[in-house]
């Protein structure tokens, strides 16, 4: 393994960052997939529920509202990831790289 890479991977901060980032990514992924496959599976197995109006007296159905919600949720969760990555992870990453570069390589 490359000496610089080896030094980074010995740094516990690297593993902590990596774990936090993947936990966030997979949690958000699960959220998106739930909304998304919820939508598809409802269409395939329970289309009747999707034809119910959102509330009485409206022509907006549950299906249309859910569809719009999937789009909004997807954008929102993408935003959450970018916000955390750009505010938090990038700083931690920069610190890890700085530490790795600080001492000269043997």
């Amino acid at each position: 393994m490359d000496a610089l890479h080896a030094r980074i991977s010995r740094n516990p901060a690297f593993h902590a960052l990596q774990a936090r980032r993947s936990r966030l990514a997979w949690t958000l992924c699960a959220g998106v997939l739930a909304a998304y496959y919820g939508f598809i599976l409802m269409i395939a197995y329970a289309p009747d529920i999707f034809q119910k109006p959102l509330h009485t007296g409206t022509s907006i159905t549950l299906g249309v509202a859910w569809g719009a919600a999937v789009v909004v949720i997807s954008v929102g969760l993408t935003g959450v990831y970018v916000w955390r990555a750009n505010r938090e992870f990038d700083h931690l990453n920069a610190r890890i790289l700085e530490e790795a570069h600080r001492e000269p390589l043997a």
């Binding site: 992924c29 598809i40 719009a68 789009v71």
Partner: protein, 550 residues
């Protein structure tokens, strides 16, 4: 005055009389001249951009990655441009116009790819790649077999996508502008070659950006003008649509599009994974300076595309409410003139008059040109950077040579696109969009995902699995209900499902895993050992080549 400037003035001069002429009463001519005039304006602006970009394009990095100097916001718009084609505006409106809710499924389902791309791919891809997705898998795998597979699959992807766009474009343009189908193909071909061959990624990006802004503003105007017509009430707009449509309330609920669960699941997975691994979108991650801007560009793109899809929720139903019973847009049989694909176009006339109709037609044309340009540069990069520089020249080609091969490839791809567009004229090409998505979801996604997430993947596993995904995809599409059943006239397909992706994705992943597990060659051992290096680099970006520094 330099020649270019004089030419600009001359061309600009010809637009003004066209626009005044457009005030004349003859209705059909009116449409054509305004639309053509506006399209000429777009062409002039985009050629100006190309001229400016050509002077800034010197190295391979300039040509294939715009020198890494695009900002996250600009890139977000350019990605939006790559993703949202005219098919999205007119096709989704047409589907909603005919079937109601089922059309919405086409808006919602592909969008799931965006967050997935962000969470699972964006950071790591950006840290590992340079110009193309083949770079990512070349970090720890054997260069020649991997690049051959990825670049050939990229070309299958690009050509499949290109045929859909070119044929759709020809039909649309001859409908909108009243010009000949072949002439439309040639105009598109010439523009693409000019943009890509001279301006490279810089010109392609800015053309894409301008078009994205035009398309988003045009669609917004249609949406809000229609809502204004219904006193800003989505509810009464939907009520108007329900009372106009022969299927009544059924347009607000799922119909027959995805009735069997296997098709629903397969189509969903194809769009989800395929959309997250499209080479012409992913290569845009390398046009920005760093990972932070790459993430921002995905977020901006997701916001713009999501916004656009939400607009289609209104536009499609507004077309039912405002066009379906308006005699101006119906033929002698009471059907919509020009077919359902014209629903959005007629709606633009209903809400904005003939001037706005001209604007939307010009935007539709511009959109097609820009999308084809984006595909062409992705194809050119697969040829020049992957096949030529890395496989034939073993990485020893000079910058000048790579740029030259890129330019030649762009010219050839443009010409090839025109030939294909003419050859596939009058064919039912809607099914063809499943070709690129099947390739992307069963070749690119499994290879990229496993190479970044699984230590055990080896070259042998990846190449075998990718080839299985590609081959099986092509075979099952051929034997499926659309090609074997409808086009070859056998009634039914030997393979019963329209979307083979579920099967090809599973086959591809399984083959990669099994073959890699069985692979105990020295190279496989080395590749597994190199995972740690690759992992550190993919997480931190250390050692990643900054695209700007070449």
């Amino acid at each position: 005055m330099p020649l270019n400037a004089r030419l600009l003035v001359l061309l600009a001069g010809t637009i003004l009389p066209l626009a005044t002429f457009a005030q004349a009463p003859a209705p059909k001519r009116e449409l054509n001249t305004i639309a053509i005039g506006m399209f000429v304006v777009f062409v002039l602006i985009s050629l100006g951009i190309t001229f400016w970009a050509a002077r800034r394009t010197r190295s391979t990095s300039d040509f294939l990655a715009a020198g890494g100097r695009i900002s996250g916001f600009q890139n977000g718009l350019a990605i939006t441009g790559d993703w949202v084609s005219s098919a999205a505006l007119m096709g989704i409106a047409a589907l909603i116009y005919s079937t109601g809710f089922d059309g919405l499924i086409y808006s919602v389902v592909p969008f799931g790819a965006w967050p997935l791309m962000m969470f699972l791919m964006a950071d790591r891809l950006r840290n590992l790649g340079k110009y193309t997705i083949a770079d990512i898998v070349s970090v720890r795998f054997a260069r020649i077999p991997m690049r051959t597979l990825i670049s050939l699959s990229s070309l299958v992807f690009v050509v499949g996508y290109l045929i859909v766009q070119m044929v759709g474009a020809g039909t649309l343009i001859s409908n909108l502008f009243g010009i000949d189908y072949t002439a439309a193909q040639v105009i598109i071909g010439i523009l693409i070659v000019l943009y890509v061959a001279f301006g490279g990624m810089i010109a392609t990006t800015y053309v894409q950006l301008v078009k994205a802004v035009l398309l988003l503003s045009g669609a917004s105007f249609i949406c809000f003008a229609a809502l204004f017509h219904f006193d800003w009430s989505v509810d009464s707009l939907y009520a108007g649509a329900i009372s106009n449509h022969p299927q009544g309330i059924r347009i607000m609920q799922p119909g027959g599009l995805l009735t069997d669960p296997v098709s629903a699941f397969s189509c969903g997975l194809m769009l989800l994974l395929g959309g997250a691994a499209m080479p012409h979108v992913l290569m845009r991650f390398f046009t920005v300076p760093d990972a932070r801007q790459a993430r921002l560009s995905v977020f901006y793109a997701a916001s713009f595309i999501g916004y656009f899809y939400l607009l289609t929720f209104v536009i499609g139903y507004a077309a039912i409410a405002m066009v379906m019973k308006d005699p101006r847009f119906l033929d002698a049989n009471g059907l919509i003139t020009g077919g359902p694909n014209m629903a959005a176009i007629h709606l633009s006339e209903a809400v904005g008059g003939s001037f706005f109709l001209g604007f939307i037609s010009a935007v539709a044309f511009a959109t097609i040109v820009a999308v084809v340009a984006g595909l062409t540069i992705a194809g050119a990069s697969a040829i020049s950077h992957d096949l030529y520089a890395n496989i034939f020249r073993h990485g020893k080609a000079t910058d000048d040579q790579v740029v030259k091969v890129s330019r030649i490839s762009a010219v050839c791809l443009g010409a090839f696109g025109v030939v294909l567009g003419i050859a596939f004229k009058d064919q039912n090409i809607a099914y063809m969009i499943t070709i690129p998505f099947t390739v992307s979801s069963s070749v690119f996604f499994p290879i990229l995902f496993l190479s970044m997430y699984w230590r055990g993947l080896t070259t042998r596993g990846a190449v075998t699995g990718g080839a299985v995904g590609l081959g099986l995809g092509v075979i099952l599409l051929f034997l499926g209900p659309t090609i074997w059943g409808e086009i070859l006239g056998h009634g039914e397909g030997i393979f019963p499902y329209k979307y083979p992706a579920l099967f090809t994705i599973i086959a591809s992943f399984l083959t990669m895993i099994v073959v890699s597990k069985l692979d105990d060659s020295p190279r496989a051992k080395r590749e597994r050992a190199e995972f740690d290096d690759q992992f550190v680099r993919s997480q931190t970006g250390v050692g990643a080549e900054a695209p700007a520094q070449h």
